[in-house]
């Protein structure tokens, strides 16, 4: 168990009142709750927060943490006796030469916490476990096998409830959409003495840099040049399955939407990929090009702002 500065985690001074502790928890819980938060490390932060609050909210635990917490780091390198009245108290409290003794002490302190530890990644108040798993868009497209790490409550031989890390291999079905769930029967909490429950996994597809997903459909903004837009062209466009050719009709405006049937997430029926065209101009200092543009301006006699009631000047 590594040392964690609970005060730092909660953004509190060491002298914070119990009320301040509670308020800080409430505020941060809303900030880091994984269902609500958009922050990158929300789940981990929420877990650390829960751990910190569990200790700091209880005056008893807090006092023990305050007293022994700071010595935690030195324990690993052997006990360094420090002059002062504290030392007497400490050697009476635990075997300082026995590392496992200290660990047992800390574990006793925290076993209560472990049993109520909130696992942000899942909900397990009932017979089944409800978890969340992040996958990439590619994982959904090809299907995948992922290993889910879950800390599950376990009833050991002595009848003690402990937390055990379980690694579960999960088959991600091809074409699974965002927020869809998969059920793994019999993979829920074990060690209850009776039939193990089920494991439900809510799939979350992490946002892709340029493919945007909505249900089974994929949206892609596709830049084209002014001449491609005007003359029409066959362009290469990325899809999840690789590049495909797309024929753009001539005189295509920005915002024109084109559909690539069946190029979305696989399934029955498969989703589509919807392309939105966007005309972009090249940045150029090329004098010849600039001259050609000027010629075109003359020839075109085009007022793009006509509908705004503004004349061309």
């Amino acid at each position: 168990m590594e040392y964690k500065d609970y005060y730092k985690i909660m953004g509190l001074d060491r002298g914070a009142s119990q009320d301040e502790v509670k308020r800080a928890y409430r505020k941060l819980a809303r900030k880091y709750h994984p269902d609500v938060s958009k922050e990158a490390n929300a789940e981990e932060n929420f877990k650390d927060l829960g751990e910190a609050y569990d200790v700091l909210k209880d005056p008893d635990k807090r006092a023990k943490y305050d007293q022994y917490g700071q010595y935690w780091k030195t324990q690993g390198q052997g006990y360094n006796p420090e002059p002062g009245a504290d030392q007497q108290q400490q050697s009476q409290r635990y075997e300082t030469s026995d590392m496992s003794g200290f660990e047992d002490f800390i574990n006793t302190l925290f076993r209560q916490r472990n049993q109520q530890q909130q696992h942000a990644a899942y909900y397990d108040q009932g017979q089944d476990i409800h978890a969340k798993l992040n996958i990439s868009l590619e994982d959904s497209f090809t299907g995948a096998e992922k290993t889910l790490q879950l800390q599950m409550p376990n009833l050991d031989g002595q009848g003690n409830m402990t937390q055990q890390m379980h690694a579960i291999r999960v088959k991600i079905p091809k074409g699974i959409a965002n927020k869809q769930q998969i059920r793994l029967k019999g993979q829920g909490s074990k060690g209850h003495g009776h039939k193990p429950g089920d494991l439900y996994i809510e799939i979350h597809i992490t946002p892709h840099p340029f493919f945007h997903i909505q249900g089974k459909n994929i949206f892609l903004k596709t830049p084209i040049s002014p001449w491609e837009a005007t003359l029409g062209a066959t362009i290469k466009v990325p899809t999840l399955a690789g590049n495909v050719n797309l024929k753009i009709p001539k005189l295509s405006q920005s915002g024109k939407q084109m559909r690539l049937k069946g190029r979305g997430l696989p399934g029955n029926p498969a989703g589509d990929q919807l392309i939105t065209l966007e005309i972009v101009i090249p940045t150029t200092d090329n004098e010849q090009m600039v001259k050609l543009y000027e010629q075109m301006a003359q020839l075109a006699q085009f007022n793009p702002r006509e509908k705004l009631g503004v004349s061309h000047d």
Binding site: V36, Q125, D128, R183
Partner: protein
């Protein structure tokens, strides 16, 4: 996409089902909650039910309903939100997610 349960599967093979339905009893046991709570969630309009009658034993909850139930229960447990509040939170979260998605799409 739905993988049917293969009778050859032993305990170590984790077959995943993508579509499933739970009864009221299964839902309350699965989540460790009460029928009253689930009824409260339904009455708040958070999840639709097939027949608008009192025979809730006949109701079937699909995977999307289960997702919402999990969210409501977790919001209540972690943030102290009641069912009415959770209903609002769910709607706002949906809206925010759609806006984020749209924004990302427009910016890309």
């Amino acid at each position: 996409m739905t993988k049917a349960n293969d009778p050859k599967n032993n305990q170590t093979d984790t077959s995943s089902e993508a579509h499933f339905y739970l009864s009221m009893h299964q839902v309350t046991t699965s989540f460790g909650t009460s029928t009253e709570t689930i009824l409260e969630i339904v009455n708040e309009g958070i999840i639709p039910v097939q027949h608008d009658d009192d025979d809730y034993e006949e109701w079937r909850f699909d995977d999307d309903a289960c997702r919402r139930i999990r969210l409501v229960l977790q919001l209540n447990r972690d943030l102290g939100v009641n069912v009415a509040g959770a209903a609002l939170v769910l709607e706002l979260l949906n809206e925010i997610e759609e806006l984020h998605s749209l924004l990302a799409h427009l910016r890309s």
